[in-house]
C-alpha cells in the first residue's frame, strides 16, 4: 500500500477491482465505510462476481476475469477523450513529457522487438531519447509525436466503450457510468483510492493489471495524496515483511537484489544498480545502493566482509535464471532435479496451482521438512484419503519430517502490515507439547550443519563459518537481538564528514536510521529500509501512541512505518510545484519556503525545493512512469492480454495466447485446455469466513462455512440441470473435483465479443483433508501452472473448466 489503512477515510471514491476488500480484509474495509459515512464517499466494485464488497457498493459493474487491462485502458481513454486529467500533476510528476526513442511501436497487441522463438522482447527500443547533456529529452508542451503522453493517447485509443464491452463483457452503460465517476477525481480536490489484491496479481499479466491502474491514478493526480494511492491489500500477516526482508530467490533485504552470473564481480554488480538521475537536479535515491549493500554484507559476514574481498561478494549465489521461484522449483522437482524441500509454515500442496503436478513433484523428493503450528496437507501428501487424496503411500519414497512450531500467541517480534507498519507483539501462551519457535529451529539447523562442516569439511563452507552469529545464546537468538541487527549499528565511531571531530554515532551504538549507513564497512544493517525500527531511542515498533493530529489518519506515534516512519509514500506529490497542497482540506505536507512541514515524514529531502526536485525520488526520472522503458518484460505500457485459458480469443490478435512473454514449461503446455472442451470461465477466490487453509482447523470458522462449494449462475445451472445444494463435478484439463453447488444471482452470464455468452464458475479455496471442517476437494486441483511474466505469480484467477451434476464423494454414480 502506498497509503495506510487509516488513510482510506480521506477518500472520495473507492474503486475495488481485482480484489474483494470487504470479504478478505473486513477490518481494513471499515475505513471505506467510514469514508462513505463521513465524507459521503462512493464505492465502485468491478468484479466477475457480485461480492460481499459489492453488497455495500454504490455502483457495481461486472467484468470477465482477466480482462481488467482493457477496462482500465478504456477508462484512461475516456479521461483523455473528455479532458478529465490532472494536468499540472501529470505534466510535472509523470514522464508524460519524456521523448521515446525512434523505433518503438505497438501493433496487433505486440510491442516492437518481439521474438516468437524466445517468447521474449528485445527491449532496446523501449527507452527515452537521450540528449547530449546525458539527460533524457523531454517536451514540456507534450506536442512531440513520440513523447510518452502522445504514445499513451494512441495506445489507449482503441479501448472505446464498445471495445471494452467486446473484451470484458461489461455493458457499455455500466462501463461509462464507472468511467464517468472515476474521471471526476481528476480535479485536485477529489481523490480516488484503488484497493486491489490477488484478483489482479494472480494472472499471467498481473503486474500489468496494476500498472494500468497506477497510470490512471497518476493522470488523475491521486498518488501521494491523502485518500489516494495504489493500495495492494497483502494477504498474509507478514508477507510484506518477508518481501521487505528479501526472502525470495532473486532478492536480498530491502529490495537490494541477488547478483546474476553476468555480474562476475562487485564492481560490475554495482554498476548496473547505481542509477544516475535522468533529469537535472533529481534525487535518484538508489545512488545510495552501495551504502545499503555494504552494510548488509557486514550484517551477514561481519569481520569477514572487507573492502579487499569486495565485502564477501562471492559468498552470494549468482543466479543463472531470473529467479528460482516456486513454479520453477516445483517444475525442477517434478523433473527429479530437487532432492530436499523445507516448508516453513506453508502448504504448497493446497496453495500451488495444478495439485496433481505438486503431488507428483513432492513424491520425487528424497526428503521434505515441514514446520507448522498445524497439520498441513503438504506434510501428509503421502497419506491416502480416498477421493480427497488418492495416493499410494507405499510408492512414495519421500522421507517427511514434521516439526511443530509455536504460533503468534506464543511468539514475540514484529510483523509488517500492508501499510508498512512494523508492529511489535508479545507472547501470551505456552506452546502445546514440544512445539518450538522458528528462530530456535532455524538456529539449530544452522548450528548443527556448521558443526558437521567443522567436523567433516565439505562444499564451500566459508560463508557458513563466517556467518555473523553474535547472540547471547546462539541456540536461541532473542527477537530484540535480531531486531537490533536489522536496524543496524556503527562498527566504528561515525564522524561528521563536514567536521571529522564530531562523532555522530559511537562504535557499537545503533544507527538512528539508514541515512547514517555508509559504504566503507563502518556500519552494518540487516535491512536498510527497516533501519530506524530499533535505534538508541529503543524499540520503536513497540510504540503505542494513539494520537493523530487533526484526525488526518497518520498516527505518527503508533509503532513504526518503513521507511523512516513515513506513513504515505510519495507524499511530496500531495503538494503542487509551489509546495502548496493540491487540496488544502487534505494537506499532508507543505513547503514553508525553506523546508517541508506537515503531518507525515516528507518522502524527499526536507529542504528539496518543490519547483526543482520532483517527488518520485526512487526513480531516475524524479517523476513517475507512465512508460516504464525496459523495466517490465511484457511492455512499457500495459497491453490487453487474454489468460492462457480463455473462453474468447484475443480481439486484438487472435493468434496470441495468454501473455506472449510469460514463462511456460513444456510439460505444462500439454495441460492447458481449450474453450471447446472446457467452455466455462473459472476463477478461484477466498471467503470471509476462512483464511487460506488455516481456519478449517478451527471449529468456529469451520461451523461458519463448513463445506467446499462452487458458485454458478441460474442460467448455467439450468443449462446443466444443476440444483442449488446438489453435488457437481467440476473438471479442467488438470483435474476434477466434487463440490456442493451454490446457484446464485450474484453471478451473471457475460456477453462478450460477437454475442458470445461467457458463464463464470466461482471456486472458493479453503478446503482440504485435514482439520475440523468437512473434508473437501481443492480449487488448485483445477488451476493452471503458469505465472506472471515479471514476477511469476501463478494465474489462479482465470482458467477454463467444465461442470455437471454428480453424486456425492464416495458414492459411485
Amino acid at each position: 500500500m502506498t497509503n495506510s489503512w487509516t488513510d482510506i477515510r480521506n477518500t472520495d471514491l473507492v474503486v475495488v477491482m481485482g480484489g474483494n476488500a470487504a470479504e478478505a480484509h473486513p477490518c481494513g474495509f471499515k475505513w471505506v465505510t467510514e469514508a462513505k459515512a463521513h465524507r459521503g464517499a462512493k464505492l465502485i466494485v468491478v468484479d466477475p462476481r457480485f461480492t460481499r464488497t459489492a453488497s455495500v457498493a454504490d455502483y457495481y459493474a461486472p467484468i470477465r476475469q482477466g480482462s481488467d487491462i482493457a477496462f482500465l485502458l478504456g477508462v484512461i481513454n475516456y479521461c483523455i477523450q473528455n479532458d478529465r486529467v490532472q494536468w499540472e500533476y501529470t505534466k510535472a510528476f509523470t514522464n508524460a513529457s519524456f521523448i521515446v526513442k525512434e523505433g518503438f511501436s505497438y501493433s496487433d497487441g505486440l510491442f516492437s522487438g518481439y521474438d516468437e522463438e524466445k517468447r521474449d522482447y528485445d527491449r532496446t527500443s523501449w527507452d527515452y531519447e537521450m540528449g547530449e547533456d546525458g539527460f533524457a529529452r523531454v517536451d514540456e508542451t507534450l506536442q512531440h509525436p513520440r513523447c510518452v503522453w502522445n504514445l499513451l493517447k494512441q495506445h489507449v485509443s482503441v479501448f472505446t466503450p464498445e471495445m471494452v464491452q467486446r473484451i470484458c463483457g461489461t455493458p457499455q452503460d455500466k462501463f461509462l457510468h464507472v468511467a464517468q465517476m472515476i474521471s471526476e477525481c481528476s480535479t485536485p480536490t477529489k481523490t480516488m483510492t484503488s484497493m486491489y489484491a490477488l484478483g489482479w496479481t494472480q494472472h499471467s499479466h498481473g503486474s500489468q493489471n496494476i500498472r494500468a491502474m497506477a497510470m490512471l491514478q497518476l493522470i488523475l493526480g491521486n498518488i501521494g495524496v491523502r485518500g489516494g494511492g495504489m493500495n495492494a491489500l497483502r494477504g498474509h500477516s507478514n508477507i510484506q515483511g518477508l518481501t521487505d526482508m528479501g526472502l525470495m530467490s532473486h532478492l536480498l533485504t530491502g529490495y537490494l537484489n541477488m547478483p546474476t552470473e553476468a555480474e562476475t564481480d562487485y564492481a560490475t554488480y554495482m554498476k548496473s544498480r547505481q542509477f544516475k538521475p535522468l533529469r537535472p537536479g533529481q534525487t535518484s535515491y538508489w545512488q545510495n545502493y552501495p551504502k545499503f549493500m555494504v552494510s548488509f554484507q557486514k550484517a551477514m559476514w561481519g569481520e569477514a566482509a572487507t573492502a579487499e574481498n569486495d565485502w564477501c561478494y562471492d559468498y552470494l549465489s549468482k543466479l543463472d535464471v531470473p529467479s528460482y521461484d516456486i513454479l520453477r522449483m516445483f517444475e525442477l522437482m517434478n523433473q527429479g532435479r530437487v532432492n530436499g524441500y523445507i516448508c516453513q509454515g506453508f502448504n504448497p500442496l493446497m496453495a500451488f496451482p495444478d495439485r496433481g503436478k505438486s503431488t507428483s513433484a513432492l513424491s520425487k523428493l528424497k526428503f521434505l521438512v515441514t514446520m507448522d503450528p498445524l497439520e498441513t496437507e503438504t506434510s501428509r501428501f503421502w497419506e491416502n484419503h480416498g477421493e480427497y487424496n488418492d495416493v499410494n503411500p507405499a510408492s512414495i519414497r519421500t522421507e517427511v519430517i514434521q516439526l511443530p512450531t509455536s504460533c503468534f500467541a506464543e511468539d514475540e517480534g514484529s510483523l509488517t502490515n500492508s501499510g508498512r507498519w512494523l508492529q511489535w507483539f508479545w507472547p501470551a501462551a505456552t506452546p502445546p507439547g514440544e512445539a518450538r519457535n522458528d528462530v530456535w529451529i532455524m538456529s539449530q539447523i544452522f548450528l548443527r550443519m556448521r558443526e558437521l562442516y567443522r567436523k567433516e569439511g565439505g562444499a564451500f563452507p566459508d560463508p557458513i563459518f563466517n556467518l555473523s552469529w553474535q547472540y547471547e545464546d546462539p541456540n536461541q537468538p532473542t527477537p530484540e537481538e535480531l531486531a537490533k541487527e536489522i536496524n543496524g549499528r556503527a562498527l566504528v565511531d561515525l564522524t561528521d564528514p563536514a567536521d571529522p571531530s564530531k562523532v555522530l554515532v559511537q562504535a557499537g551504538k545503533q544507527v538512528v536510521n539508514f541515512s547514517q549507513l555508509r559504504d566503507d564497512g563502518s556500519t552494518m544493517s540487516g535491512c536498510w529500509i527497516y533501519s530506524g525500527c530499533f535505534n538508541e531511542a529503543g524499540n520503536n515498533m513497540a510504540r503505542r501512541g494513539t494520537e493523530d493530529p487533526d484526525g488526518v489518519g497518520v498516527y505518527p506515534n503508533w509503532t513504526f512505518a518503513w521507511p523512516l516512519n513515513r506513513r504515505t509514500l510519495y507524499n511530496r506529490a500531495s503538494a503542487d510545484l509551489q509546495g502548496k497542497p493540491w487540496d488544502p482540506s487534505r494537506k499532508l505536507l507543505e513547503w514553508n519556503g525553506t523546508q517541508w512541514t506537515g503531518y507525515d515524514v516528507p518522502d524527499i529531502a526536507p529542504t528539496a525545493r518543490p519547483d526543482q526536485v520532483m517527488p518520485f525520488i526512487m526513480n531516475q526520472e524524479g517523476s513517475s512512469r507512465l512508460f516504464t522503458r525496459g523495466m517490465m518484460r511484457d511492455g512499457p505500457f500495459p497491453a490487453h492480454m487474454e489468460p492462457f485459458e480463455s473462453p474468447v480469443p484475443n480481439v486484438l490478435n487472435p493468434r496470441m495466447r495468454g501473455n506472449p512473454v510469460a514463462r511456460i514449461f513444456e510439460s505444462d503446455v500439454a495441460r492447458f485446455g481449450n474453450s471447446e472442451e472446457f467452455p466455462f470461465a473459472a476463477t478461484s477466490y477466498r471467503l470471509t469466513e476462512h483464511f487460506h487453509y488455516w481456519t478449517k482447523h478451527n471449529r468456529v470458522n469451520a461451523a461458519l462455512q463448513p463445506e467446499f462449494f462452487v458458485e454458478i449462475s441460474h442460467e448455467l445451472a439450468a443449462m446443466r440441470g444443476i440444483t442449488g445444494g446438489g453435488w457437481v463435478r467440476v473438471w479442467s484439463k488438470r483435474g476434477s473435483v466434487k463440490a456442493k453447488a451454490v446457484v446464485t444471482r450474484r453471478i451473471q452470464p457475460l456477453h462478450c465479443d460477437g454475442g458470445r455468452v461467457v458463464h463464470v464458475v466461482g471456486i472458493p479455496i479453503h478446503w482440504g483433508f485435514t482439520g475440523a471442517a468437512r473434508k473437501g476437494f481443492n480449487a488448485n486441483t483445477l488451476s493452471p501452472f503458469v505465472g506472471d511474466a515479471n514476477i511469476e505469480t501463478p494465474g489462479f484467477k482465470a482458467f477454463l473448466v467444465n461442470i455437471e451434476p454428480t453424486t456425492p464423494p464416495g458414492v459411485v454414480s
Binding site: 552470473e261 503450528p373 558437521l452 557458513i464
Partner: protein
C-alpha cells in the same frame, strides 16, 4: 507488555453514543454485587492481558490475548479469550470472523505437538525427539549440499548455487524470524528460496 491499555468505559466516552447523564442512570459508579443467577460474572476477571497482532491477513489488527498465567513471568499460560484492541488505529477493537475466533486456531485439535517422522513408503507418522529430527535434517541437507553444490559455472565464475534443496519461508512469522531464516538459507546458497508473496 509495556503498554498501558486504555480503560475508558464504553458508556463514559464521548462518542460512545451515550449521553454523560445516562452514565449514573445506568448504574455506573454504583457498586452492587453481581448475582450469579442474574447477570453472568464477567469472565475476563483476573486474566493476563497481552498485546498481540492478528496472525491472518495484513490489515494486522491489534488484538488482546487474555490468558491464565503469565509467560513473561515464566509461568505456564493458557489462552482464554481473544478480543480486538480498542486502541488500535486500524481496527479500533473490531475483528473479522477469523480474528474473532483466533483462540480456536491456537487451541485447535490439529495443533502439532511433537516432531514426527514419516519413513519412505510408510503410511504413518512416528514420533521422534527434537535431536533426532534436527540431526537428521542437518545430515540430509549437508549430504545434498556437498553432493550438488555448484561452486563455479562453466565459465569458471564463482556462482555458489545450491539448487537441489529448496525452501519456502513462512508468511506469518516475525521479521526477526525472517531475518534468521534469510541468513541461514542465503548462507547455505539455497537459491530455490521463496515465500507466500505470490499466493
Amino acid at each position: 507488555m509495556n503498554v498501558e491499555l486504555s480503560r475508558r468505559s464504553l458508556l463514559k466516552v464521548a462518542g460512545a453514543g451515550v449521553a454523560a447523564t445516562s452514565v449514573t442512570a445506568m448504574g455506573f459508579g454504583e457498586a452492587e454485587a453481581a448475582v450469579a443467577a442474574h447477570v453472568r460474572p464477567f469472565k475476563l476477571v483476573n486474566t493476563t492481558e497481552t498485546r498481540n497482532t492478528c496472525t491472518y491477513c495484513s490489515v494486522a489488527c491489534g488484538v488482546i490475548l487474555y490468558s491464565r498465567g503469565d509467560v513473561r513471568k515464566g509461568e505456564h499460560a493458557e489462552l482464554l479469550h481473544v478480543e480486538g484492541d480498542a486502541d488500535h488505529p486500524t481496527n479500533l477493537g473490531t475483528l473479522c470472523p477469523k480474528g474473532a475466533a483466533l483462540k480456536d486456531f491456537v487451541k485447535s485439535e490439529t495443533r502439532l505437538r511433537y516432531p514426527m517422522l514419516r519413513r519412505p513408503g510408510s503410511d504413518r507418522f512416528e514420533r521422534i525427539s527434537w535431536d533426532q529430527a534436527l540431526d537428521r535434517i542437518a545430515r540430509l541437507m549437508k549430504d545434498d549440499r556437498d553432493a550438488n553444490f555448484i561452486a563455479r559455472n562453466q565459465a569458471g565464475v564463482t556462482v555458489n548455487r545450491w539448487t537441489t534443496t529448496g525452501m519456502l519461508a513462512a508468511s506469518a512469522t516475525t521479521n526477526e524470524t525472517a531475518w534468521t531464516t534469510f541468513k541461514v538459507a542465503k548462507t547455505l546458497g539455497i537459491v530455490g528460496f521463496d515465500n507466500q508473496a505470490r499466493v
